[in-house]
């Protein structure tokens, strides 16, 4: 892997408490406290930010142009340099990273939010599928994940008790995460939603937002005591037809990880965006994560899954571990689409001399 041509780091991360519903708030009302949190952490004002990039989907809440209303929260008038992706905020972060690489900006504000509570997210997500052969059948997000889970079971990569174990470990780890929606050891595993996946194998449905500030070079060192340097980041996608793919594997994740330099040195932490317990099985395998790696110490997406923000939160959680001196080299992964369709891998590092 060739190192990035410019040193860029995550210097601040914030997230809301993720809740089943935030019906008393509009998107911008939900988002603004998080924006202020990361700005306050760095001492930056909105007018100091060089580039702003957001990720969200209007389909989630059925609110047309909600992303333009969310822009009010960053003081976008008079017009600022900004962009939006109809994707998880992790991809907004990728765009911001490339913007900083060009040298056009030294700081970037990245945010994303999702309100799944107004609609039925299982059905909403069918609208992202192939419109000719798949979407007319309305296969919901749990059904597609269940097809992948059964393929993993048939191939001998996991079984239902092991999947329950992933779910239980995630919620138990989330006990230490005050923002998580499903926390603690007593979350029931429940009945089948779509067999072989039970309630506990599925992510909680809820609303939430997250924000990250990126900064380049010396600016990052000014803004953060221990920046989480992005030593590599890449994203790749699978063929779109589910029946073409080997659902027990994730070549796109493997390739993104190679390009991000993941395999050059070990990581101590991995924040994986695996909304379904079965997807962690795939990711652990292709990312070659051993038992010595802390996987999803935040609880991951099984503890809080604000759609469109959950991937950015993985990068933020991994970076926050480095900020706190709890990690030296961390992997963050984000996914989008059914059955790990598209995958982003980022490697974050703390540096010698910037330790506390």
């Amino acid at each position: 892997m060739r190192p990035p041509i410019r040193d860029i780091a995550v210097v601040a991360f914030g997230q809301t408490d993720h809740r089943r519903t935030t019906e008393e708030q509009s998107e911008v009302e939900m988002l603004m406290p998080v924006l202020h949190q990361v700005l306050d952490a760095t001492g930056l004002k909105t007018s100091d930010i060089g580039f702003t990039c957001s990720g969200s989907s209007d389909y989630l809440a059925g609110r047309a142009f909600s992303f333009t209303m969310a822009l009010d929260g960053v003081g976008a008038w008079p017009p600022i340099s900004e962009s939006h992706v109809e994707m998880d905020g992790a991809w907004a972060l990728y765009e911001a990273w490339t913007k900083l690489l060009t040298g056009d900006a030294d700081t970037a504000l990245v945010y994303s939010y999702g309100k799944s509570s107004p609609g039925s997210v299982r059905d909403v997500l069918t609208r992202q599928l192939d419109p000719y052969y798949v979407a007319p059948l309305w296969p919901d997000s749990v059904a597609l994940a269940a097809l992948q889970a059964q393929a993993l079971i048939d191939a001998g990569h996991t079984d239902e008790p092991a999947l329950a174990g992933v779910a239980a470990r995630s919620r138990a780890d989330a006990a230490g995460n005050p923002h998580a929606q499903l926390r603690g050891a007593d979350v029931p595993h429940g009945d089948y939603v779509v067999q072989p996946l039970r309630t506990g194998d599925c992510p909680p449905i809820g609303d939430g937002a997250a924000a990250v500030i990126l900064a380049a070079g010396d600016r990052a060192r000014e803004l953060c005591e221990r920046p989480a340097w992005i030593s590599g980041i890449d994203h790749r996608i699978e063929a779109h037809s589910l029946g073409v793919r080997d659902l027990t594997d994730s070549p796109s994740t493997r390739l993104a990880a190679e390009n991000a330099g993941l395999f050059e040195r070990p990581v101590d932490t991995a924040e994986l965006h695996a909304p379904f317990s079965s997807q962690e099985v795939v990711l652990r395998k292709v990312l070659r994560l051993g038992d010595d790696v802390a996987v999803n110490p935040s609880g991951g997406a099984l503890a809080a899954n604000p759609v469109m923000a959950a991937g950015l939160i993985r990068i933020g959680e991994a970076a926050a571990r480095i900020h706190r001196g709890e990690s030296r080299r961390a992997l963050a992964h984000a996914t989008s689409g059914p059955c790990l369709q598209q995958n982003l891998v980022a490697v974050l590092e703390g540096r010698q001399g910037e330790d506390r």
């Binding site: 107004p118 269940a146 037809s241």
Partner: protein
Amino acid sequence: MAVAPQPDILKAPLVVEFPFTRSLGPVQAAFLSGLRHRTVLGVRTTDDRVLVPPVEYDPVTAAEIRDLVEVGDTGTVTTWAWNPAPRRGQPLDTPFAWVLVKLDGADTALLHALDATGPDAVHSGLRVRVRWAAERTGAITDIACFEPDDSTPEQIRPAPHTGEFEDGVTGIVAAARLDYTYSPGGAQSRYINALADNRTVGERCPSCRKVYVPPRGACPTCGVATTEQVEVGPAGTVTTYCIVNVKAKNLDIELPYVYAHIALDGADLALHGRIGGIPYDQVRMGLRVEPVWTEGGRYPDHYRPTGEPDADYDTYKELI
């Protein structure tokens, strides 16, 4: 100054429903036309694999692929998932299995539903057969579902097919409906609740002191929450307007009529509304207007002239 109280949470059902009209590429058109004639087509890739359902471009090499072949209507389940509670729009309304099926002669699998008695009757490797829909339109739903079958796999090389059918389709119309419970959030709930009380209430930015009407919860210049409620109007000034000559659906208003930007007194943002009570060709910038509320209305029906002298241009030029 009134600090905004937490409003009652407003909620309303919202249905987003639309038909997507999509044109098909040559391979997709042949496949869906074939389903109408109980024929399943695949496409051969550059490395001699048969993709079902077929696509226009090779997923590995991106080469344009056009070699159509006919595969069987029997096949083998490669993975499955039992759906105990079918949802709206799904192929069956009784519990069924989602399946990926590799049809005989194909190298890839097709997603669909399997009508089976229960999860115990389904396993990967199960042999299945297409159950055709009684009425077929040239859509993936021409396959009603799959059903278990006792055939043995056929090891034949699928034969080429022209892809030409009588009454071939070139497009599909895919209906989509999503149901929501809409809630507008704090600032807009406060605004809407005040309107029901025949008052127009904006919100002031604590930083730049601008009053936004209608409020959206944040000042777009300062990026901070607007929390102080400010009653504005009721009268205001027309800052600009247009004459509408197109009849809107479900709107019983005589044409032509005037739609205007109106800066209510005390507001730093113009809202828009219809102007009535004056011939359309006499409406002008600077006209002073006031809202007209109808009995039980939750918002002004229209604005009418107050009879005051016109406002001086300098008093509203920043709000155009």
